[in-house]
Protein backbone atom coordinates (compact mmCIF):
# COMPACT_ATOMS: atom_id res chain seq x y z
CA UNK A 1 0.00 0.00 0.00
CA UNK A 2 1.13 3.54 -0.67
CA UNK A 3 2.28 5.08 2.63
CA UNK A 4 0.54 8.07 4.19
CA UNK A 5 3.23 10.75 3.59
CA UNK A 6 2.90 10.27 -0.17
CA UNK A 7 -0.73 11.29 -0.08
CA UNK A 8 -0.01 14.19 2.22
CA UNK A 9 2.80 15.46 0.03
CA UNK A 10 0.54 15.23 -3.01
CA UNK A 11 -2.16 17.12 -1.16
CA UNK A 12 0.30 19.80 -0.02
CA UNK A 13 1.55 20.17 -3.59
CA UNK A 14 -1.99 20.50 -4.93
CA UNK A 15 -2.74 23.10 -2.29
CA UNK A 16 0.40 25.04 -3.19
CA UNK A 17 -0.44 24.89 -6.90
CA UNK A 18 -3.95 26.13 -6.18
CA UNK A 19 -2.73 28.96 -3.96
CA UNK A 20 -0.14 29.99 -6.54
CA UNK A 21 -2.86 29.94 -9.20
CA UNK A 22 -5.09 32.27 -7.21
CA UNK A 23 -2.27 34.68 -6.49
CA UNK A 24 -0.54 34.68 -9.87
CA UNK A 25 -3.37 34.32 -12.37
CA UNK A 26 -5.25 37.38 -13.57
CA UNK A 27 -8.14 35.49 -15.14
CA UNK A 28 -11.12 35.14 -12.84
CA UNK A 29 -12.08 31.71 -14.15
CA UNK A 30 -8.58 30.35 -13.61
CA UNK A 31 -8.50 31.89 -10.13
CA UNK A 32 -11.76 30.20 -9.36
CA UNK A 33 -10.59 26.84 -10.65
CA UNK A 34 -7.47 27.18 -8.51
CA UNK A 35 -9.65 27.67 -5.45
CA UNK A 36 -11.45 24.44 -6.32
CA UNK A 37 -8.06 22.72 -6.55
CA UNK A 38 -7.24 24.00 -3.06
CA UNK A 39 -10.51 22.64 -1.69
CA UNK A 40 -9.84 19.28 -3.28
CA UNK A 41 -6.33 19.25 -1.84
CA UNK A 42 -7.86 19.66 1.60
CA UNK A 43 -10.31 16.88 0.74
CA UNK A 44 -7.46 14.57 -0.15
CA UNK A 45 -5.71 15.33 3.14
CA UNK A 46 -8.91 14.68 5.10
CA UNK A 47 -9.63 11.40 3.38
CA UNK A 48 -6.02 10.29 3.89
CA UNK A 49 -6.17 10.98 7.61
CA UNK A 50 -9.51 9.26 7.80
CA UNK A 51 -8.19 6.16 6.04
CA UNK A 52 -4.95 5.84 7.99
CA UNK A 53 -6.35 6.72 11.41
CA UNK A 54 -9.34 4.43 10.86
CA UNK A 55 -11.91 7.05 11.85
CA UNK A 56 -14.94 7.55 9.66
CA UNK A 57 -15.61 11.25 10.38
CA UNK A 58 -13.41 12.26 7.49
CA UNK A 59 -15.60 10.57 4.91
CA UNK A 60 -18.59 12.59 6.04
CA UNK A 61 -16.49 15.74 6.02
CA UNK A 62 -15.43 15.14 2.42
CA UNK A 63 -18.97 14.59 1.18
CA UNK A 64 -20.13 17.81 2.75
CA UNK A 65 -17.13 19.75 1.49
CA UNK A 66 -17.86 18.53 -2.03
CA UNK A 67 -21.43 19.80 -1.80
CA UNK A 68 -20.23 23.13 -0.43
CA UNK A 69 -17.64 23.43 -3.19
CA UNK A 70 -20.40 22.88 -5.75
CA UNK A 71 -22.53 25.61 -4.17
CA UNK A 72 -19.56 27.94 -4.15
CA UNK A 73 -18.80 27.12 -7.78
CA UNK A 74 -22.38 27.86 -8.80
CA UNK A 75 -22.37 31.21 -7.05
CA UNK A 76 -18.92 31.99 -8.39
CA UNK A 77 -19.81 31.22 -12.01
CA UNK A 78 -22.99 33.25 -11.75
CA UNK A 79 -20.97 36.14 -10.34
CA UNK A 80 -18.38 35.90 -13.11
CA UNK A 81 -21.15 36.00 -15.73
CA UNK A 82 -22.64 39.03 -14.01
CA UNK A 83 -19.37 40.90 -13.99
CA UNK A 84 -18.70 39.97 -17.61
CA UNK A 85 -22.06 41.45 -18.59
CA UNK A 86 -21.33 44.48 -16.46
CA UNK A 87 -17.77 45.20 -17.58
CA UNK A 88 -17.11 43.05 -20.64
CA UNK A 89 -13.97 41.50 -19.18
CA UNK A 90 -12.90 38.96 -16.60
CA UNK A 91 -9.39 40.28 -16.13
CA UNK A 92 -8.87 40.73 -12.39
CA UNK A 93 -6.61 43.75 -12.89
CA UNK A 94 -9.45 45.70 -14.50
CA UNK A 95 -11.54 45.70 -11.32
CA UNK A 96 -10.01 48.64 -9.56
CA UNK A 97 -12.77 51.20 -9.28
CA UNK A 98 -12.29 51.38 -5.53
CA UNK A 99 -8.91 52.44 -4.27
CA UNK A 100 -7.86 54.09 -1.09
Amino acid sequence: MVPMPHYLILSALLFAIGAAGVILSRNLLIMFMSIEVMLNAANLAIITFSRFLNVMDGHVFVFLVMAIAAAEAAVGLAMIITIFRNRGTIDADKFNLMKW
Binding site: L8, F15, G18, A19, V22, L28, M31, F32, I35, M38, L39, A41, A42, N43, A45, I46, T48, F49, L53, V55, D57, G58, V60, F61, L64, V65, I68, A71, E72, V75, G76, A78, M79, I80, T82, I83, N86, R87, A92, F95, L97, M98, W100
Partner: protein, 487 residues
Protein backbone atom coordinates in the same frame (compact mmCIF):
# COMPACT_ATOMS: atom_id res chain seq x y z
CA UNK B 1 -31.04 8.66 24.62
CA UNK B 2 -30.64 11.85 26.58
CA UNK B 3 -28.92 13.75 23.83
CA UNK B 4 -31.67 13.32 21.24
CA UNK B 5 -33.29 16.55 22.34
CA UNK B 6 -34.54 17.69 18.96
CA UNK B 7 -36.37 20.70 20.31
CA UNK B 8 -33.18 22.78 20.57
CA UNK B 9 -32.98 22.77 16.80
CA UNK B 10 -36.42 24.34 16.43
CA UNK B 11 -35.27 28.01 16.09
CA UNK B 12 -32.91 27.15 13.23
CA UNK B 13 -35.44 24.90 11.49
CA UNK B 14 -38.12 27.53 11.82
CA UNK B 15 -35.92 30.30 10.41
CA UNK B 16 -34.89 28.07 7.51
CA UNK B 17 -38.49 27.22 6.64
CA UNK B 18 -39.42 30.87 7.02
CA UNK B 19 -36.71 31.83 4.54
CA UNK B 20 -38.10 29.30 2.06
CA UNK B 21 -41.54 30.74 2.75
CA UNK B 22 -40.30 34.22 1.85
CA UNK B 23 -38.91 32.91 -1.42
CA UNK B 24 -42.31 31.38 -2.12
CA UNK B 25 -44.15 34.52 -1.08
CA UNK B 26 -42.08 36.50 -3.55
CA UNK B 27 -43.31 34.23 -6.33
CA UNK B 28 -46.86 34.43 -5.01
CA UNK B 29 -47.38 38.16 -4.64
CA UNK B 30 -45.84 39.02 -8.04
CA UNK B 31 -44.08 42.16 -6.78
CA UNK B 32 -47.30 43.96 -5.97
CA UNK B 33 -46.72 44.94 -2.37
CA UNK B 34 -43.07 45.70 -1.72
CA UNK B 35 -43.29 46.05 2.05
CA UNK B 36 -44.91 42.75 2.93
CA UNK B 37 -41.75 40.74 2.30
CA UNK B 38 -39.68 42.94 4.58
CA UNK B 39 -42.25 42.84 7.35
CA UNK B 40 -42.59 39.08 7.11
CA UNK B 41 -38.79 38.71 7.32
CA UNK B 42 -38.79 40.86 10.46
CA UNK B 43 -41.68 38.86 11.89
CA UNK B 44 -39.82 35.62 11.18
CA UNK B 45 -36.74 36.85 12.98
CA UNK B 46 -38.81 37.96 15.96
CA UNK B 47 -40.52 34.57 16.18
CA UNK B 48 -37.11 32.89 15.94
CA UNK B 49 -35.98 34.99 18.89
CA UNK B 50 -39.00 33.90 20.91
CA UNK B 51 -38.45 30.25 19.97
CA UNK B 52 -34.84 30.62 21.01
CA UNK B 53 -35.95 31.80 24.44
CA UNK B 54 -38.19 28.73 24.81
CA UNK B 55 -36.10 25.95 23.26
CA UNK B 56 -32.55 26.13 24.47
CA UNK B 57 -30.00 24.36 26.58
CA UNK B 58 -28.92 20.90 25.53
CA UNK B 59 -26.85 18.98 23.06
CA UNK B 60 -27.81 17.11 19.93
CA UNK B 61 -26.18 14.63 17.56
CA UNK B 62 -23.70 13.41 20.18
CA UNK B 63 -22.49 16.91 20.95
CA UNK B 64 -22.15 18.12 17.38
CA UNK B 65 -24.74 20.77 18.02
CA UNK B 66 -24.70 22.52 21.38
CA UNK B 67 -27.22 25.04 22.50
CA UNK B 68 -25.19 26.42 25.40
CA UNK B 69 -25.15 29.92 26.84
CA UNK B 70 -22.38 31.16 24.55
CA UNK B 71 -24.29 29.99 21.49
CA UNK B 72 -27.50 31.62 22.67
CA UNK B 73 -25.75 34.88 23.51
CA UNK B 74 -24.30 35.12 20.03
CA UNK B 75 -27.51 33.91 18.38
CA UNK B 76 -29.25 36.89 19.89
CA UNK B 77 -26.60 39.12 18.30
CA UNK B 78 -27.08 37.43 14.92
CA UNK B 79 -30.85 37.67 15.02
CA UNK B 80 -30.56 41.29 16.14
CA UNK B 81 -28.20 42.22 13.34
CA UNK B 82 -30.36 40.47 10.72
CA UNK B 83 -33.45 42.22 12.11
CA UNK B 84 -31.77 45.60 11.88
CA UNK B 85 -30.33 44.89 8.42
CA UNK B 86 -33.80 43.98 7.15
CA UNK B 87 -35.30 46.98 8.90
CA UNK B 88 -32.91 49.42 7.29
CA UNK B 89 -33.42 47.82 3.84
CA UNK B 90 -37.00 48.93 3.28
CA UNK B 91 -36.18 52.01 1.26
CA UNK B 92 -33.53 50.41 -0.93
CA UNK B 93 -35.79 47.41 -1.44
CA UNK B 94 -38.54 49.53 -2.93
CA UNK B 95 -36.23 51.76 -4.97
CA UNK B 96 -33.14 49.90 -6.10
CA UNK B 97 -34.10 46.23 -5.82
CA UNK B 98 -37.37 46.08 -7.65
CA UNK B 99 -37.20 42.58 -9.00
CA UNK B 100 -35.45 40.40 -6.46
CA UNK B 101 -36.76 41.45 -3.09
CA UNK B 102 -37.68 37.93 -2.07
CA UNK B 103 -34.17 36.70 -2.71
CA UNK B 104 -32.74 39.67 -0.86
CA UNK B 105 -34.61 39.03 2.37
CA UNK B 106 -34.48 35.26 2.02
CA UNK B 107 -30.71 35.25 1.62
CA UNK B 108 -30.28 37.42 4.71
CA UNK B 109 -32.27 34.84 6.64
CA UNK B 110 -30.26 31.93 5.19
CA UNK B 111 -27.07 33.65 6.23
CA UNK B 112 -28.49 34.10 9.72
CA UNK B 113 -29.31 30.39 9.90
CA UNK B 114 -25.68 29.70 8.99
CA UNK B 115 -24.44 31.98 11.76
CA UNK B 116 -26.74 30.32 14.27
CA UNK B 117 -25.43 26.89 13.30
CA UNK B 118 -21.88 28.14 13.48
CA UNK B 119 -22.31 29.47 16.99
CA UNK B 120 -23.68 26.11 18.13
CA UNK B 121 -20.98 24.05 16.46
CA UNK B 122 -18.66 22.28 18.82
CA UNK B 123 -17.20 20.21 16.07
CA UNK B 124 -15.19 21.02 12.98
CA UNK B 125 -17.55 19.74 10.26
CA UNK B 126 -20.54 21.63 11.61
CA UNK B 127 -18.37 24.67 12.13
CA UNK B 128 -17.13 24.67 8.55
CA UNK B 129 -20.60 24.15 7.10
CA UNK B 130 -22.01 26.89 9.29
CA UNK B 131 -19.31 29.24 8.11
CA UNK B 132 -19.99 28.48 4.45
CA UNK B 133 -23.73 28.81 4.89
CA UNK B 134 -23.02 32.22 6.41
CA UNK B 135 -20.78 33.49 3.65
CA UNK B 136 -22.20 32.05 0.42
CA UNK B 137 -25.45 34.07 0.66
CA UNK B 138 -23.37 37.10 1.58
CA UNK B 139 -21.39 36.85 -1.67
CA UNK B 140 -24.63 37.16 -3.56
CA UNK B 141 -25.96 39.91 -1.33
CA UNK B 142 -22.80 41.99 -1.71
CA UNK B 143 -23.27 41.95 -5.49
CA UNK B 144 -26.99 42.52 -5.31
CA UNK B 145 -27.15 45.72 -7.38
CA UNK B 146 -26.50 43.80 -10.58
CA UNK B 147 -26.15 46.91 -12.72
CA UNK B 148 -24.02 48.88 -10.31
CA UNK B 149 -20.33 48.50 -11.13
CA UNK B 150 -19.18 49.04 -7.57
CA UNK B 151 -21.56 46.49 -6.10
CA UNK B 152 -20.66 43.76 -8.57
CA UNK B 153 -16.99 44.44 -8.07
CA UNK B 154 -17.47 44.27 -4.31
CA UNK B 155 -19.29 40.96 -4.60
CA UNK B 156 -16.59 39.52 -6.81
CA UNK B 157 -13.75 40.59 -4.54
CA UNK B 158 -15.58 39.19 -1.55
CA UNK B 159 -16.20 35.94 -3.39
CA UNK B 160 -12.59 35.38 -4.44
CA UNK B 161 -11.15 36.34 -1.05
CA UNK B 162 -13.86 34.49 0.84
CA UNK B 163 -13.49 31.28 -1.14
CA UNK B 164 -9.70 31.49 -0.91
CA UNK B 165 -9.83 31.95 2.85
CA UNK B 166 -12.31 29.16 3.32
CA UNK B 167 -9.99 26.83 1.40
CA UNK B 168 -7.13 27.82 3.72
CA UNK B 169 -9.35 27.33 6.75
CA UNK B 170 -10.41 23.92 5.48
CA UNK B 171 -6.82 22.84 5.03
CA UNK B 172 -6.04 24.02 8.56
CA UNK B 173 -9.01 22.09 9.89
CA UNK B 174 -7.93 18.99 7.97
CA UNK B 175 -4.51 19.20 9.62
CA UNK B 176 -6.11 19.56 13.05
CA UNK B 177 -8.23 16.53 12.26
CA UNK B 178 -5.18 14.59 11.15
CA UNK B 179 -3.19 15.50 14.26
CA UNK B 180 -5.90 14.55 16.70
CA UNK B 181 -7.94 11.94 14.87
CA UNK B 182 -11.19 13.60 15.82
CA UNK B 183 -13.38 16.46 14.69
CA UNK B 184 -14.90 17.04 18.11
CA UNK B 185 -13.30 20.10 19.70
CA UNK B 186 -13.36 18.85 23.30
CA UNK B 187 -11.90 15.46 22.37
CA UNK B 188 -9.36 17.32 20.27
CA UNK B 189 -8.31 19.30 23.35
CA UNK B 190 -7.86 16.12 25.37
CA UNK B 191 -5.94 14.29 22.64
CA UNK B 192 -3.59 17.20 22.07
CA UNK B 193 -2.88 17.49 25.79
CA UNK B 194 -2.19 13.75 26.02
CA UNK B 195 0.24 13.88 23.13
CA UNK B 196 1.90 16.92 24.58
CA UNK B 197 2.25 15.37 28.03
CA UNK B 198 3.75 12.15 26.73
CA UNK B 199 6.21 13.63 24.24
CA UNK B 200 6.82 17.08 25.70
CA UNK B 201 6.52 18.68 22.29
CA UNK B 202 4.28 18.80 19.26
CA UNK B 203 5.70 19.06 15.80
CA UNK B 204 5.44 21.77 13.17
CA UNK B 205 2.14 20.33 11.93
CA UNK B 206 0.23 21.98 14.73
CA UNK B 207 1.91 25.35 14.15
CA UNK B 208 1.00 25.14 10.47
CA UNK B 209 -2.56 24.15 11.35
CA UNK B 210 -2.92 27.02 13.80
CA UNK B 211 -1.53 29.56 11.35
CA UNK B 212 -3.88 28.34 8.63
CA UNK B 213 -6.91 28.47 10.90
CA UNK B 214 -5.95 31.93 12.15
CA UNK B 215 -5.56 33.08 8.54
CA UNK B 216 -8.87 31.51 7.50
CA UNK B 217 -10.87 33.04 10.31
CA UNK B 218 -8.78 36.23 10.13
CA UNK B 219 -10.09 36.80 6.60
CA UNK B 220 -13.65 36.57 7.85
CA UNK B 221 -12.87 38.93 10.72
CA UNK B 222 -10.90 41.31 8.47
CA UNK B 223 -8.00 41.13 10.89
CA UNK B 224 -4.78 42.77 9.66
CA UNK B 225 -3.02 41.51 7.45
CA UNK B 226 -6.08 39.73 6.04
CA UNK B 227 -8.15 42.90 5.83
CA UNK B 228 -7.48 44.21 2.33
CA UNK B 229 -10.82 43.09 0.95
CA UNK B 230 -12.89 44.79 3.63
CA UNK B 231 -12.84 48.47 2.60
CA UNK B 232 -13.64 47.69 -1.05
CA UNK B 233 -16.42 45.27 -0.22
CA UNK B 234 -17.87 47.54 2.45
CA UNK B 235 -17.90 50.47 0.08
CA UNK B 236 -19.45 48.67 -2.88
CA UNK B 237 -22.02 46.43 -1.22
CA UNK B 238 -25.55 47.66 -0.48
CA UNK B 239 -25.28 49.55 2.81
CA UNK B 240 -27.57 47.32 4.94
CA UNK B 241 -25.52 44.35 3.73
CA UNK B 242 -22.35 46.16 4.71
CA UNK B 243 -23.83 46.60 8.17
CA UNK B 244 -24.79 42.95 8.32
CA UNK B 245 -21.31 41.94 7.16
CA UNK B 246 -19.61 44.12 9.71
CA UNK B 247 -21.67 42.91 12.67
CA UNK B 248 -23.21 39.51 11.94
CA UNK B 249 -20.43 37.97 9.90
CA UNK B 250 -17.79 39.31 12.28
CA UNK B 251 -19.59 38.00 15.34
CA UNK B 252 -19.74 34.64 13.56
CA UNK B 253 -15.98 34.74 13.05
CA UNK B 254 -15.49 35.70 16.68
CA UNK B 255 -17.53 32.77 17.95
CA UNK B 256 -15.76 30.35 15.60
CA UNK B 257 -12.44 31.65 16.86
CA UNK B 258 -13.55 31.25 20.47
CA UNK B 259 -14.72 27.70 19.84
CA UNK B 260 -11.54 26.53 18.13
CA UNK B 261 -8.85 28.44 19.98
CA UNK B 262 -10.18 29.40 23.39
CA UNK B 263 -11.80 26.01 23.81
CA UNK B 264 -9.85 23.52 21.70
CA UNK B 265 -6.34 24.95 21.70
CA UNK B 266 -6.43 26.73 25.04
CA UNK B 267 -3.44 24.73 26.23
CA UNK B 268 -1.29 26.49 23.66
CA UNK B 269 -1.94 30.03 24.80
CA UNK B 270 0.39 30.03 27.76
CA UNK B 271 4.00 31.14 28.05
CA UNK B 272 5.40 27.70 28.78
CA UNK B 273 4.71 26.62 25.22
CA UNK B 274 6.42 29.60 23.72
CA UNK B 275 6.90 28.54 20.10
CA UNK B 276 3.33 27.32 19.81
CA UNK B 277 1.66 30.17 21.62
CA UNK B 278 -1.24 31.39 19.46
CA UNK B 279 -1.96 34.11 22.00
CA UNK B 280 1.06 36.14 21.05
CA UNK B 281 0.44 35.73 17.30
CA UNK B 282 -3.12 36.96 17.65
CA UNK B 283 -2.02 39.75 19.99
CA UNK B 284 0.40 41.05 17.37
CA UNK B 285 -2.29 40.85 14.68
CA UNK B 286 -4.71 42.69 16.97
CA UNK B 287 -2.18 45.44 17.61
CA UNK B 288 -1.56 45.75 13.86
CA UNK B 289 -5.33 45.90 13.24
CA UNK B 290 -5.81 48.68 15.78
CA UNK B 291 -2.91 50.75 14.49
CA UNK B 292 -3.56 50.30 10.77
CA UNK B 293 -7.36 50.54 11.02
CA UNK B 294 -7.35 53.72 13.04
CA UNK B 295 -4.58 55.49 11.16
CA UNK B 296 -6.04 54.69 7.73
CA UNK B 297 -9.53 55.70 8.82
CA UNK B 298 -8.20 59.20 9.47
CA UNK B 299 -7.83 59.99 5.78
CA UNK B 300 -11.10 58.53 4.46
CA UNK B 301 -13.60 60.80 2.72
CA UNK B 302 -16.28 58.14 2.21
CA UNK B 303 -18.32 57.22 5.26
CA UNK B 304 -18.63 53.53 4.38
CA UNK B 305 -14.88 53.21 3.85
CA UNK B 306 -14.26 55.06 7.08
CA UNK B 307 -16.58 52.73 8.95
CA UNK B 308 -14.84 49.79 7.28
CA UNK B 309 -11.46 50.84 8.61
CA UNK B 310 -13.07 51.63 11.94
CA UNK B 311 -14.50 48.11 12.04
CA UNK B 312 -11.04 46.69 11.33
CA UNK B 313 -9.83 48.60 14.37
CA UNK B 314 -12.81 47.47 16.44
CA UNK B 315 -12.05 43.82 15.75
CA UNK B 316 -8.58 44.53 17.10
CA UNK B 317 -10.13 45.61 20.40
CA UNK B 318 -12.30 42.50 20.45
CA UNK B 319 -9.20 40.36 19.96
CA UNK B 320 -7.62 41.92 23.06
CA UNK B 321 -10.35 40.26 25.07
CA UNK B 322 -9.93 37.06 23.08
CA UNK B 323 -6.21 36.63 23.69
CA UNK B 324 -6.80 37.15 27.38
CA UNK B 325 -8.51 33.73 27.12
CA UNK B 326 -10.06 34.05 30.55
CA UNK B 327 -13.64 34.13 31.77
CA UNK B 328 -13.54 37.91 31.91
CA UNK B 329 -11.94 37.98 28.47
CA UNK B 330 -14.69 35.99 26.76
CA UNK B 331 -17.38 37.85 28.68
CA UNK B 332 -15.91 41.18 27.59
CA UNK B 333 -15.78 39.99 23.98
CA UNK B 334 -19.47 39.07 24.19
CA UNK B 335 -20.38 42.39 25.76
CA UNK B 336 -18.30 44.28 23.21
CA UNK B 337 -20.02 42.56 20.29
CA UNK B 338 -23.41 43.26 21.85
CA UNK B 339 -22.76 47.00 22.08
CA UNK B 340 -21.02 46.98 18.71
CA UNK B 341 -24.23 45.53 17.22
CA UNK B 342 -26.20 48.60 18.26
CA UNK B 343 -23.56 51.22 17.49
CA UNK B 344 -22.44 49.90 14.12
CA UNK B 345 -25.89 48.92 12.88
CA UNK B 346 -27.16 52.35 13.89
CA UNK B 347 -24.36 54.20 12.13
CA UNK B 348 -24.81 52.16 8.95
CA UNK B 349 -28.58 52.63 9.06
CA UNK B 350 -28.09 56.41 9.06
CA UNK B 351 -25.65 55.98 6.18
CA UNK B 352 -28.26 53.91 4.28
CA UNK B 353 -31.01 56.48 4.78
CA UNK B 354 -28.66 59.27 3.82
CA UNK B 355 -27.50 57.47 0.71
CA UNK B 356 -31.10 56.87 -0.38
CA UNK B 357 -31.82 60.55 -0.08
CA UNK B 358 -28.69 62.01 -1.60
CA UNK B 359 -27.02 59.17 -3.48
CA UNK B 360 -23.77 60.13 -1.80
CA UNK B 361 -21.54 58.46 0.77
CA UNK B 362 -19.15 61.36 1.17
CA UNK B 363 -18.61 62.61 4.69
CA UNK B 364 -18.65 66.19 3.44
CA UNK B 365 -22.26 65.88 2.30
CA UNK B 366 -23.31 65.38 5.91
CA UNK B 367 -22.57 69.02 6.63
CA UNK B 368 -25.33 70.89 8.36
CA UNK B 369 -27.42 67.80 9.05
CA UNK B 370 -28.00 69.04 12.60
CA UNK B 371 -30.05 71.98 11.29
CA UNK B 372 -32.37 70.06 8.99
CA UNK B 373 -32.66 66.75 10.86
CA UNK B 374 -31.51 67.38 14.43
CA UNK B 375 -32.76 64.03 15.72
CA UNK B 376 -30.78 61.99 13.24
CA UNK B 377 -27.68 64.08 13.75
CA UNK B 378 -28.00 63.39 17.47
CA UNK B 379 -28.48 59.67 16.80
CA UNK B 380 -25.41 59.54 14.59
CA UNK B 381 -23.38 61.38 17.22
CA UNK B 382 -24.40 58.85 19.84
CA UNK B 383 -23.42 55.92 17.60
CA UNK B 384 -20.06 57.41 16.72
CA UNK B 385 -19.23 58.42 20.28
CA UNK B 386 -20.11 54.92 21.43
CA UNK B 387 -17.78 53.47 18.79
CA UNK B 388 -15.09 55.83 20.06
CA UNK B 389 -15.75 54.71 23.64
CA UNK B 390 -16.96 57.86 25.38
CA UNK B 391 -18.73 57.42 28.75
CA UNK B 392 -21.55 56.94 29.64
CA UNK B 393 -22.34 55.19 26.35
CA UNK B 394 -22.08 51.43 25.89
CA UNK B 395 -18.82 51.59 23.99
CA UNK B 396 -17.00 52.88 27.05
CA UNK B 397 -18.03 50.01 29.29
CA UNK B 398 -17.18 47.55 26.52
CA UNK B 399 -13.70 48.96 26.00
CA UNK B 400 -13.11 49.19 29.73
CA UNK B 401 -13.96 45.50 30.18
CA UNK B 402 -11.80 44.39 27.26
CA UNK B 403 -8.83 46.38 28.56
CA UNK B 404 -9.34 45.06 32.09
CA UNK B 405 -9.30 41.51 30.74
CA UNK B 406 -6.14 42.26 28.75
CA UNK B 407 -4.33 43.69 31.80
CA UNK B 408 -5.45 40.78 33.94
CA UNK B 409 -3.96 38.34 31.44
CA UNK B 410 -0.67 40.21 31.32
CA UNK B 411 -0.99 41.81 27.89
CA UNK B 412 -0.19 45.29 29.21
CA UNK B 413 1.61 46.41 26.06
CA UNK B 414 -1.38 45.47 23.94
CA UNK B 415 -3.72 47.47 26.17
CA UNK B 416 -1.40 50.49 25.93
CA UNK B 417 -1.53 50.24 22.12
CA UNK B 418 -5.31 49.94 22.31
CA UNK B 419 -5.61 53.00 24.55
CA UNK B 420 -3.41 55.14 22.32
CA UNK B 421 -5.23 54.12 19.15
CA UNK B 422 -8.60 54.81 20.81
CA UNK B 423 -7.46 58.39 21.26
CA UNK B 424 -6.60 58.54 17.55
CA UNK B 425 -9.98 57.08 16.66
CA UNK B 426 -11.75 59.86 18.53
CA UNK B 427 -10.43 62.28 15.93
CA UNK B 428 -12.15 60.78 12.92
CA UNK B 429 -15.39 60.00 14.73
CA UNK B 430 -15.50 63.54 16.06
CA UNK B 431 -14.75 64.84 12.58
CA UNK B 432 -18.13 63.61 11.33
CA UNK B 433 -19.88 65.14 14.30
CA UNK B 434 -18.09 68.40 13.61
CA UNK B 435 -19.21 68.25 9.98
CA UNK B 436 -22.80 67.68 11.01
CA UNK B 437 -22.95 70.38 13.67
CA UNK B 438 -20.43 73.11 12.92
CA UNK B 439 -20.14 73.22 9.17
CA UNK B 440 -20.48 76.65 7.61
CA UNK B 441 -22.17 75.28 4.50
CA UNK B 442 -25.84 75.83 4.06
CA UNK B 443 -27.77 72.62 4.81
CA UNK B 444 -29.97 71.29 2.04
CA UNK B 445 -30.86 67.76 2.92
CA UNK B 446 -33.58 66.59 5.21
CA UNK B 447 -34.00 62.88 5.77
CA UNK B 448 -37.21 60.97 6.39
CA UNK B 449 -36.58 57.34 7.25
CA UNK B 450 -39.32 54.78 6.84
CA UNK B 451 -40.97 53.36 9.93
CA UNK B 452 -38.80 50.19 10.22
CA UNK B 453 -35.61 52.23 9.85
CA UNK B 454 -36.83 54.56 12.57
CA UNK B 455 -37.51 51.55 14.77
CA UNK B 456 -34.00 50.23 14.18
CA UNK B 457 -32.47 53.58 15.07
CA UNK B 458 -34.57 53.86 18.20
CA UNK B 459 -33.64 50.35 19.36
CA UNK B 460 -29.96 51.10 18.75
CA UNK B 461 -29.96 54.37 20.65
CA UNK B 462 -31.86 52.92 23.59
CA UNK B 463 -29.59 49.88 23.63
CA UNK B 464 -26.42 51.94 23.68
CA UNK B 465 -27.55 54.31 26.40
CA UNK B 466 -29.33 51.74 28.55
CA UNK B 467 -26.61 49.10 28.49
CA UNK B 468 -23.97 51.78 28.82
CA UNK B 469 -25.39 53.07 32.08
CA UNK B 470 -26.53 49.68 33.36
CA UNK B 471 -24.14 47.11 31.92
CA UNK B 472 -25.15 44.64 34.67
CA UNK B 473 -27.66 42.31 33.01
CA UNK B 474 -25.78 41.86 29.74
CA UNK B 475 -22.47 41.50 31.53
CA UNK B 476 -23.86 38.87 33.89
CA UNK B 477 -25.22 36.98 30.92
CA UNK B 478 -21.90 37.26 29.09
CA UNK B 479 -20.06 35.98 32.19
CA UNK B 480 -22.51 33.12 32.37
CA UNK B 481 -21.85 32.29 28.71
CA UNK B 482 -18.08 32.38 29.28
CA UNK B 483 -18.39 29.69 31.96
CA UNK B 484 -18.90 26.95 29.39
CA UNK B 485 -15.22 26.96 28.53
CA UNK B 486 -14.17 25.82 32.01
CA UNK B 487 -10.92 27.73 32.33
Amino acid sequence: MTDQNWSILIPEIFLFIWALFIFGLDLGIKRKNPKILGYSAMAGLTITGILLAIFNGGILFKGMFQSDQLAIFFKVIFIGSAFMAVGSSFDIASEKIRHHRGEYYGLILFSTVGMMFLSSASELITLYIGMELTTIPLYVLAAFYKDDKLSVEAGLKYLIVGAFSSAILLYGLSLLYGLTGTTDIVTMKINLSLVFLSYGKIGPGLILAMIMVIAGIGFKLALVPFHMWAPDVYQGAPTPITAFLSVGSKAAGVVAFARIFVNGLIAFASDVMKPLDWGIIVAILAAAAMILGNITALRQRNIKRMLAYSSIAQIGYVMVGMVAASELGIASVGYYMFIYLFANMGAFTIATIFNDKTGSDGIISYSGLSKTSPIFAAYMSIFLLSLAGIPPLGGFAAKYLVFAAGIQAGYTWLVIVALLTSVVSLYYYANIIKTMYFSAEEPTIKIHPSFPANLVLLISVIGIILFGIFPGPILDWALESAKIFAF
